[in-house]
């Protein structure tokens, strides 16, 4: 019988975590997601705060929160209101999505850097409350109060 000279093959070159670690990581990720959704429901965080949190280290699990789930975590938001907002979002973004596919839309899709922030701009627009308000007091006869820039968008 020939003796093995190489270690037994392991998937991904042995970089997979141990099953026990996977379970721990999953539980931790679920807890982070649940904490944020509860805080949104208690009005301690806004949905924009949750989206912004993905930029912080250690908040990668938030990328998997569904947008429908996030919107409906807010008090007063049911399926109809959430689906209406998501319908406008996908229309603005030019995405062919139906209510049955809204579960595929998550924060990770929203903040995907390849879209260069277009989805985030649409998200902000869809969730704006005072839709009829003028951009700034005295528009169009007055200049904007401050230069409208965010970070370095150009």
């Amino acid at each position: 019988m020939r003796e093995l000279t190489a270690p037994p093959a392991r998937p991904s070159g042995g970089r997979l975590a141990a099953p026990s670690d996977v379970g721990t990581a999953r539980a931790s990720a679920n807890r982070i997601r649940a904490e944020h959704l509860v805080l949104v429901n208690r009005k301690l965080l806004t949905v924009h705060d949750v989206v912004a949190a993905v930029a912080q280290p250690g908040h990668k699990p938030l990328l998997r929160i569904g947008l429908d789930q996030l919107l409906r975590a807010q008090e007063g938001w049911g399926q109809a209101r959430s689906h209406a907002a998501l319908t406008r979002l996908v229309t603005f973004c030019g995405v062919a999505a139906t209510p049955t596919r809204f579960r595929d839309l998550d924060i990770g899709w929203l903040v995907d850097p390849r879209a260069a922030g277009q989805r985030l701009v649409a998200w902000l627009d869809v969730l704006r409350d005072e839709r009829r308000a003028a951009p700034w007091p005295g528009f169009p006869y007055t200049a904007a109060l401050a230069a409208l820039t965010v970070g370095d968008p150009r």
Binding site: V121, D125, P153
Partner: protein, 485 residues
């Protein structure tokens, strides 16, 4: 023996008549220039009064049910088809532009709609996009003399106005991004009030002619000529408003009031403006007022029995200015002008050289020769040194964000609104993006600017106000208008 003009009614000066086709043009829509459009003053549109015959979708259905009317086939579309038309990307530009014009100017002809918006399709017979707006109850269709027009002329005299319904909130608002909603309504609620057909059509026509033949910054409709807005405040909502506002390139605002009567209401209006001018200096408000007398040419004086309407207008202005003289350095008389439509436009397809300078009469002279001529666009006749020049000219840039302004005047710098939304969401540091999944694979630092496969951050195409290929337009400053428009 020559008749001495009365002090309050100077002799009507006659300018140098010149056909529109020979005036230098600053822009326009090919096929829908002033020479192409129906003249609302000289074309005999108002023989039956100052109102057109209007038909809303609701009224048409009611009449059709009782056998009083038949809805034309091109207008009789199912509701869902009309919604599909508005959802289609290729129709977005025309209908957004049409609603923007109607909201700001109230009543326009098909030709004026095409001229303002730059979309020639809006001036053609029964475009489907306008039929869809009518089907959804957003606009009313008006005609001047039903049954008496030859077929080809029908669409030239077709009028549109916003319909009295809640369709905008139900059908349109959910389709619009904030930028688009501001471009259509100026950031105010959709408005269907103040529908005076002849008055509104003349105001729209004057605005188009000024934009086409005069060197101005922009022109704004009645909705954005609210007195509170003009002074930089919030709109008063139903308060006193001019019929249109002409903004000079240096930011001087010329609030224009069209009038076909000189009764007590007119005096109240003049007093309100004079009081305002006396209270607010020119340097701080940049405000001047112009009264354009535009009585029907075959009509009679509508109020009073002394002299013509024009004389009454002059007399009223003279008397009111005497009550509100202003200060020595900032006289109200220097900020109020009066002119007749016929002085600027002496006939069909005719203008005067004086019109291109907006030359008017002002009560600035000595008592025996009170009325003096001045060009409102002349910086020597009406000098303007604002306290804050940048703030005074901001409106020229901001007007380029509005669909209601003539499309060739929208050359100013537009302000992106989405950063305002990001600030409200407390995303001041920038749009949130996740850290790189594999930082060690990165080559160098990530650029500070947000960039992706679609370029730098901008709203998605469907949310922008430049929604399609720019419509064709006449080159600014062209003299090629001698019959070549």
């Amino acid at each position: 023996m020559t008749t001495q003009p009365r002090a309050h009614a100077p002799a009507r000066w006659a300018g140098t008549s010149v056909p529109f086709a020979e005036l230098a043009r600053f822009g326009g829509t090919p096929g829908f220039t002033t020479t192409d459009r129906l003249c609302p003053f000289y074309s005999g549109m108002w023989a039956a009064g100052s109102s057109a015959f209007w038909t809303s979708r609701e009224l048409a259905e009611q009449r059709a049910a009782h056998g009083l009317a038949r809805i034309p086939r091109q207008l009789d579309m199912p509701l869902e088809d009309a919604r599909d038309i508005l959802r289609a990307a290729r129709h977005l530009g025309p209908w957004l532009a049409a609603l923007g014009v109607l909201d700001q100017w109230r009543t326009v002809s098909a030709g004026q709609l095409a001229a303002f918006s730059g979309w020639p399709i809006l001036g053609t017979p029964e475009p489907r996009v306008v039929a869809a707006l009518w089907r959804l109850g957003l606009v009313d269709r008006g005609t001047l003399a039903p049954g008496m027009l030859p077929g080809p002329a029908t669409h030239r005299s077709l009028l549109f106005r916003p319909s009295r319904s809640e369709s905008f909130e139900k059908e349109i608002a959910p389709l619009l991004s904030w930028d688009q909603q501001v471009a259509v309504t100026g950031g105010m609620p959709w408005d269907f009030r103040r529908q005076y057909d002849r008055h509104n059509l003349l105001a729209s026509e004057l605005a188009l002619r000024v934009a086409e033949f005069c060197e101005v910054g922009t022109v704004l409709g009645e909705k954005l000529s609210d007195v509170s807005l003009l002074l930089g405040g919030a709109p008063s909502g139903g308060g006193h408003a001019a019929d249109l506002t002409i903004v000079r390139a240096d930011g001087l605002r010329i609030a224009v009031e069209m009038t076909a009567s000189a009764g007590p209401d007119f005096r109240t209006k003049v007093e309100a403006w004079a009081r305002l001018l006396a209270d607010k200096s020119l340097a701080s408000s940049g405000l001047t007022v112009l009264f354009v007398e535009a009585a029907p040419i075959n009509g009679q004086t509508r109020w009073g029995n002394s002299g013509s309407l024009r004389a009454q207008v002059y007399k009223t202005v003279r008397e009111v200015v005497r009550v509100f003289p202003g200060t020595g350095a900032d006289r109200v008389a220097e900020r109020i002008g009066v002119v007749s439509w016929q002085q600027w436009f002496p006939g069909l397809s005719m203008a005067t050289r004086e019109f291109t300078r907006l030359e008017v009469d002002r009560p600035t002279g000595p008592p025996k020769a009170l009325w003096e001529r001045a060009g409102l666009l002349d910086i020597i006749d009406v000098p303007f040194t604002p306290h804050d020049p940048a703030a005074a000219t901001a409106v020229v840039d901001n007007a380029s964000m509005l669909f209601g302004t003539p499309h060739w005047l929208r050359a100013g710098r537009r302000t992106d609104l989405w950063p305002l939304l990001a600030q409200e969401a407390d995303w001041r540091a920038g749009l949130p993006f996740p850290p790189p999944a594999r930082p060690t694979r990165g080559i160098g630092p990530r650029p500070a600017a947000v960039r992706g496969v679609v370029g730098a951050t901008r709203p998605p195409t469907r949310m922008r106000i430049e929604v399609a290929d720019p419509p064709p337009q006449i080159v600014r400053g062209s003299e090629a208008t001698r019959g070549a428009a």
